[in-house]
Amino acid sequence: MKFERELLKGVAPVVVLEVLSRGRMYGYELSEAIRQRSGNLLNLGRGTLYPLLYNLEAKGLVVAEWEENESKRKRRYYSITSKGMDQLERQKHQWVHLQQAVSMIFELTPGIRPA
């Protein structure tokens, strides 16, 4: 459990940015989107979500705005900024590399073996 939590901690910002890169969302919507898109495998703890969003906001990677929706309810919508997009690109690239490397070690995908 601890290992999974640590892994999640590392990947969570990239996941949030990736989901937000496809459109702005409010908190609950975002958590549901992550759950659904990961096929119910990735369940970002709710307690982690909001502090994470505030941290991303502080770093200028996302911006938040209060807006009324069709049902006249005010919600806080989060959208990714251009700085957030840059960061996402970099981290996605790193993530793919890491994923390949780890897969190779576990012999899950074919790759170059050391001599």
Binding site: G27, E29, G45, G47, Y50, W66
Partner: protein, 569 residues
Amino acid sequence: MERKGKPDLPGNVTTYIESILRKMRYRRSVRQEVEAELLDHFEDALHDCTDRDQRKKLAEEMIHEFGDVTILAKLIRRGKIRCRPWWRTACVRLFQGTCISIIAMIVYIGWFMIGRPAPATDYLARMNQVSRPGIPDQDNAWPLYKKAIECIAQPDPEHPGLYKYEPDKEMITIAKLAKHDITFKQLDNKERQQILQYMEKNAPAWDYFRQGSEKSYYYHEYKSESDSSKPIPMLMSVWLSDIEPLRDIARLGILHAQMEAPDSPRKALETCLSIARAGRHLQTRPVLIEYLVGIAMHRLAMNECIRIIAGYPLSEKDLATMQDELTSMQAQGYPPIPIEYERIAFYDTIQHIFTQGGPGGGHLVPKPFSEVAEISEPSVSALASLAHAGREKTLEKASEIFDHYEQVSKMTPWQRHTTPIRTADEILRSLPRYRYSLLDIMIPALGRVGEHRFRMIALDQATETILALKRYFLQQGEYPESLHILMQAGLIKSIPMDPYSDQALKYRKTENDFVLYSIAGNFQDDGGTINPEDEWAQKENGKDYVFWPVQEVTQSQSDNSNRPPAVPG
């Protein structure tokens, strides 16, 4: 962002959110925003669930997923703080800094105000011990001076023209004569009668004084006027009760000399010598004021000697006797200016008004400081104390100034004039005034005090030289062309020196007389001319100080003048 109307959510959810908000301990507006967002979250999650029990169960599961209230509150708070704009962070930091500074200041002021001085050294006892010479009591002049002081009678206050009542001293002084611009002979008969009565009443006092002046040393214990409940008295409060009466008896002695001179100038000269000896007694005391009064008495006596030599015929033998007496007195040397006492008095003041130990070695305590500096407003003394430098720094700077005074007091006026040296005023001006206000208030201006000693020495040498020149005249029928001829004749052992040039006193033979003078404080030879308004040329228009011939003195001269008066008749 305050939410209008709360959604219908299970009680455990609202309790959970309230707990988070409470533990966040952050700005209200931010808490409202977080509350709105979390309520939205739960409302959305429970939206499709209509069964009450199911809603409650689902809510509990979500709460479990959200996790521990304290940790969540802390993480949200941290995130929100990071979101804060820079100017708000700056304001918060400024506010926090100000609060911490105010608290620190309050603590510091509290600590400052409860500080109390803890004097440890009884400088008065030490001074009494050190100043007591190891000589038998019968050689001490004090018992006789004490008797003289005890039996001195005040002049008759009914003659305001002749006497002056000084209420602050509760004493009547012989104002007209004290000014030295009038001699006994110049008084009218009625005034003379008054003076004679005054002298008669004080004949015992004068006798004791005269006997005392014959003794080899002068010692008595200093006593403090301060509160006797204080275990260690302050040197500042030492009572110098003997100075004023002894000075007055010295003036009485001058009257005696003036009365004796017509019949016996030699006796008058001896009277003057008694006054000079008493002056020397005071010069051996460690307190500067006593020393300076001693110098004043000495100069008073020497000036009267010159006046008598100028006004009355003296035989060669009388002149030689007087010269021998003077030479033997000079041979005892001249005590240095007692700066050390002033230094010790300052150190003593420090230990009575500073705390001991702590940062800077101790700090100034407002209440005793206000008493010493005579500051009536408590807030002023408190602020001045807070701003003042610590004990160690204050002592360091004071030592620097006293070292300077020590150094300067040993230099002749000419050496001071020609040596580039920082004055005490310059040292004081280089210090921040608010940090060293005590030095400004307490350290006396002693920069030129050394000059008084050198003037006295010059006056002594001049008197001796005048006696020798008179003897030469009686022997040769004329005055010598130079002082070297006087020395070659064996009448003086050395050439008298002028401290304002570090060369010989100026001497010039005139038709039937001679001129002997110092170039004085303007350091220029003005040919033996004087400015009666500025006798030692301390100001811009000063000229020379002429020992001989005796100068006519105007009525406008100051009360404290020690110049020889006009020769009668």
